[in-house]
């Protein structure tokens, strides 16, 4: 509302924190995990469900350990990561290039918009039945589905970023005698980059999800196949362990790979931005 100095504001942000020792505050995010673990252990001890319904915590850990020792886990994880890397690389490259072309040409943007809305609505897993017939089961299929998912997110963010770069910046460079190429290189590319990075960040998250879905039926290796294959033998320990690994990899990629890149650029340039992010 007002952007004048507010005495109450910085205090408010840490309103809850004020009353807590920093350690407690820092440990707070662990409570849901701890509670669920405790409930799991307690339920298992009291109700003694069959391993098929709910395996014991140590069984899940044991199953993962076995797979890790046999080297199977590494095979699955690496297969998934390789597909992700290929699909995301393709999606980002095509998305950024396409986003620039469309973002810089209003008539093209307006012409293509209905198609984009439609194909975005069926991006990803919906293509699976059709593309299995074209590419067969395997890496190519998974890469296609990831590309298809990532492309639209990166593309839309790039278009948005390119279109939102203030005209004054362009005019500033033009006034210095810069040509079209120079404006694109020194104004539009850096100006749009926070949006592109946001697109990359959520694109990777969506790509990962699309990959798991694709691998359920469209692959013979990979984490998705690992858990879906386990369904046949009702190996809940492998399924649950696999799901946890999938979640951990997603979190790790976001936390240590993408968040730092995004924050560094955005913070260094002090750019405010409101791109379509995941949440």
């Amino acid at each position: 509302m007002s952007n004048a100095a507010m005495e109450g504001s910085p205090a408010r942000r840490s309103a809850a924190r004020r009353w807590t020792a920093p350690l407690v505050w820092r440990l707070l995010p662990l409570t849901p995990f701890t509670l669920i673990l405790a409930a799991w252990v307690a339920y298992w001890a009291i109700a003694q469900p069959s391993a098929e319904t709910l395996p014991a915590v140590q069984d899940v850990a044991g199953a993962m350990w076995d797979l890790a020792v046999k080297g199977e886990l590494a095979v699955h994880v690496l297969a998934s990561l390789l597909r992700l890397l290929l699909g995301v690389a393709l999606g980002v490259t095509t998305g950024v290039i396409g986003g620039f072309i469309v973002g810089l040409n209003r008539p093209i943007a307006e012409f293509l918009n209905p198609l984009i809305v439609f194909f975005n609505a069926i991006s990803g897993i919906v293509w699976l039945p059709l593309v299995i017939g074209w590419l067969g089961i395997g890496t190519a299929l998974a890469v296609f589905l990831i590309w298809n998912t990532v492309f639209f997110i990166v593309f839309q963010n790039t278009v948005l970023g390119v279109q939102l770069v203030p005209k004054v910046y362009e005019q500033g460079v033009e006034a210095l005698g810069g040509g079209r190429w120079e404006t694109i290189r020194s104004v539009i590319l850096p100006g749009a980059s926070p949006y592109i990075l946001t697109g990359l960040r959520s694109g990777l998250g969506f790509g990962w999800r699309a990959l798991i879905a694709a691998e359920l039926v469209g692959a013979t290796t990979g984490l998705g196949q690992m858990i879906f294959g386990a369904t046949e033998y009702h190996r809940s320990d492998i399924i649950i362990g696999g799901c946890l690994i999938i979640g951990l990899i997603a979190i790790a990629m976001d936390r240590w790979l993408l968040l730092p890149i995004e924050q560094r650029t955005v913070r260094r340039w002090g750019l405010a931005f409101d791109a379509r992010s995941e949440e």
Binding site: M1, S2, M6, E7, S14, R18
Partner: protein, 276 residues
């Protein structure tokens, strides 16, 4: 009983030995140190002091949003235990609701108090006239200028008809010209309604212009350093005559000096060296 009544009309608010400490990541911070003050019924008291001296803390305690670490706060002889309808607050951030029209924002307090629609509309209509908002009743806040939003916030508090009104730098975010108008309007509004007002500001001009009495606070931990009476509010004030009234300007000078002393002494050695 009559004795009690007499006492309460004399002193609406009594703060004694108010000390407040809050915890931060870097350890406890003492916001105020043994503040003593009393405000008479119908009096307009302004409080000036350097930023971060605990002004807002004091106001929040009067409103009942925070409890004193030490000391007591009495309103009409009763300890303040929480926010109440007898004490209205106007925030610097305004806090009028963006999803309510001007009319519904102003009438909100009456709606909460379950005042019947007809009576509510009458009060709201009167305040809309008083604050010059006529014609904007059905607008949403984002369609208004900063000064008009300010008027809505003030009118909302006045409409609920509290005995005491607490204002936390309400005019800090509006432009200079609008601020002068709003200040004159506030003087008129107070003259017409006879409220007890406690008003925080860091503008010395504003503090003297509005007040019956100006309180100056020390730097953190804040204490009341001085109280200066400003005569003649009942007769009304406007900026043109205020600026050329030598008695008034002398008071402004005096308050300015008192505030300056605190500002110069805010930080230790480093900033002292700079001022030299």
């Amino acid at each position: 009983m009559p004795d009690d009544m007499a006492k309460s009309t004399q002193n609406k608010i009594v703060v004694s030995g108010f000390r407040h400490v809050f915890e931060t990541d870097d350890g406890p911070v003492q916001a105020t140190d043994r503040v003593d003050l009393s405000i008479r019924a119908g009096e307009f008291v302004t409080l000036v002091g350097p930023s971060g001296c605990g002004k807002t803390t004091l106001l929040k305690a009067l409103a009942g949003f925070i409890r004193p670490t030490e000391g007591s706060i009495l309103c009409d002889g009763a300890t303040v235990l929480g926010p109440g309808r007898d004490r209205g607050v106007v925030f610097q951030e305004l806090a009028i609701l963006p999803w309510r029209t001007v009319r519904r924002n102003i009438g909100h307090g009456l709606e909460i108090a379950r005042v019947p629609r007809a009576a509510r509309e009458a009060t709201v209509g009167r305040l809309i006239e008083l604050t010059g908002l006529a014609g904007f009743e059905e607008r949403y806040p984002h369609e208004l200028s900063g000064g008009m939003r300010q008027r809505v916030a003030v009118a909302r508090t006045w409409a609920a008809d509290p005995d005491v009104i607490l204002m936390d730098e309400p005019f800090a975010a509006v432009d200079a010209m609008t601020r002068l108008t709003l200040q004159e309007e506030l003087v008129r509004l107070c003259g017409a309604t006879g409220k007890t007002v406690f008003f925080i500001t860091h503008s010395v001009d504003e503090a003297v212009f509005l007040a019956d009495r100006v309180l100056v606070m020390t730097r953190r931990p804040g204490r009341i350093k001085a109280a200066i009476d400003v005569p003649g509010r009942a007769a009304g004030r406007d900026w043109e005559s205020f600026k050329i009234d030598s008695a008034m300007q002398a008071i402004v000078e005096q308050v300015l000096r008192l505030v300056r002393e605190e500002r110069g002494a805010t930080a230790p050695a480093a900033s002292a060296a700079v001022t030299k």
